[in-house]
């Protein structure tokens, strides 16, 4: 399959890339890892006239803790994220997530920023970032603005990014002590999108009561879903089996899956319930409670 013809541009800096976006507007697309965009171009579902390749822009690939946040550069590859020592030692929920994105070759190119900016509800990072209460940094002609992740996903393939903005960084608040998280995904085979997946992040107080809960759902609605009712239910409660079961039930009720080759609606809702149970249970274990 041959994509439609396009002009290939390779800026050396973020500001040069933004200048090109301003110049070419809607006819331009940013090429990051390309692992979603290029297949769409091959199918001619996307036909940008200008492809702005940011892969050689320095300073956009990093994973570090700084100023109370885990900061992930927009151009960080999934394989780098998965192999990052700080992520490995302190953010198992992110390791869970990166590990099940597509397959090894795709993870060598695919980027964390692209996974979010693509706005695909089937992508895996959105749910995890919703659970972690992340923020994304959008850089445009006027500089940087910070967007809470819960305001980022507008509709399918549509995000709060403006046409002249680039997602340059993801900021995750460093979880307080007694926190834990996990991501559980069911896929038909490696490389497939999730039939459904659930991310859960919990923080307990010193009495073992849930202070903060974040729950994100993958591929069960037109956007990634923040399961607010389930989160609200858990705050102030112990994560015993009955409460986990009730929260999982609420998360399933908040999901809006559609029937497709991966299964009917009821099956997917049932799956959300089961995966939420598992993710919450693992999150609790990882928090040491």
């Amino acid at each position: 399959m041959i994509p439609a013809s396009f002009e290939y541009l390779r800026p050396k800096t973020v500001s040069e890339a933004i200048g090109l976006l301003q110049q070419h507007g809607d006819d331009a697309k940013i090429l990051s890892g390309g692992q979603s965009l290029i297949p769409m171009m091959k199918l001619r579902l996307a036909r940008p006239g200008y492809l702005i390749d940011i892969n050689r822009v320095p300073g956009l690939s990093y994973v570090k803790e700084e100023g109370g946040y885990l900061k992930i550069g927009g151009l960080t590859r999934e394989a780098e994220l998965e192999g990052s020592p700080v992520v490995h030692s302190k953010y198992p929920i992110i390791v869970d997530t990166a590990h099940v994105i597509a397959d090894p070759q795709v993870r060598n190119l695919a980027t964390v920023g692209g996974n979010l900016a693509h706005g695909d509800p089937a992508n895996d990072h959105p749910a995890t970032m919703l659970a972690l209460g992340a923020q994304v940094v959008a850089t445009g002609p006027k500089g940087e603005r910070v967007i809470p992740i819960e305001n980022f996903f507008l509709s399918i393939f549509s995000t709060a990014l403006q046409p002249d903005e680039i997602l340059t960084e993801i900021r995750i608040p460093i979880p307080p002590p007694r926190s834990g998280g996990a991501y559980f995904k069911l896929e038909r085979k490696v490389g497939d999108f999730a039939t459904a997946a659930v991310a859960a992040q919990i923080t307990f107080d010193d009495q073992g009561v849930c202070q903060e809960a974040g729950i994100g759902l993958t591929n069960v609605g037109p956007t990634p879903i923040k399961a607010r009712k389930a989160e609200e239910f858990l705050r102030g409660k112990r994560l015993d089996e009955a409460n986990i079961k009730q929260a999982a039930q609420l998360a399933a009720e908040e999901s809006e899956p559609s029937a497709d080759l991966r299964g009917p609606v009821e099956y997917k809702k049932g799956l959300v319930k089961e995966l939420a149970k598992r993710a919450l249970t693992r999150a609790r274990e990882r928090a040491g409670k």
């Binding site: 041959i2 013809s5 290939y8 390309g34 091959k42 090894p104 070759q105 060598n108 190119l109 490696v190």
Partner: protein, 162 residues
């Protein structure tokens, strides 16, 4: 037609250059421009891994990357595994352990497992299976591919380090 751009790569140790349209996929550059047809086009949808090549030490699916993106890169394809007329231990392993039947997936399998062994010279069975999880084989059931990789890991441990 968009204006052509120069792509310069070092592939299997040889410097090659060509002017190509930006929309040319890396796999077509390798096969049709450079004439190295060992790298296969399987599904052409980023699923099967038959087009896997090693780019600057990392495996990529060459059907899901433009040739212009590889400008300046070092590439290794299946043709580059043979050295001084001698099969790479992985190639030997695939032969000895019947790691192929129709052979269509084999170039991609070899490149994925080459990169795997570079990173982890003694992988467990699970690590091997995970390492080839981006490569489909419709013939073998994977058992003999796993054995072929174990064979190669054994050979490399004996001192045939490559």
């Amino acid at each position: 037609m968009a204006k052509k751009q120069s792509v310069h790569v070092k592939i299997n140790g040889r410097e090659r250059q060509a002017d190509v349209e930006p929309r040319l996929l890396l796999v077509h550059f390798i096969r049709e421009v450079l004439g190295l047809t060992g790298t296969h086009v399987g599904c052409d949808t980023s699923n099967c891994g038959a087009c896997t090549v090693v780019l600057d030490g990392k495996t990529v699916k060459s059907c899901t990357m433009f040739a212009v993106q590889a400008d300046g890169a070092e590439l290794l394809t299946v043709e580059g595994l043979l050295q001084d007329g001698k099969l790479h231990p992985l190639q030997e392993g695939f032969k000895q352990e019947h790691g192929l039947q129709c052979g269509f997936c084999t170039p991609g399998m070899l490149m994925s497992t080459y990169a795997l062994l570079k990173k982890n010279s003694q992988p467990s069975e699970e690590e091997i299976r995970w390492g080839i999880s981006g490569n489909l084989c419709r013939c073998t059931g994977y058992q003999n591919i796993v054995k072929a990789v174990q064979y190669a890991a054994g050979k490399l441990a004996e001192g045939g380090a490559r």
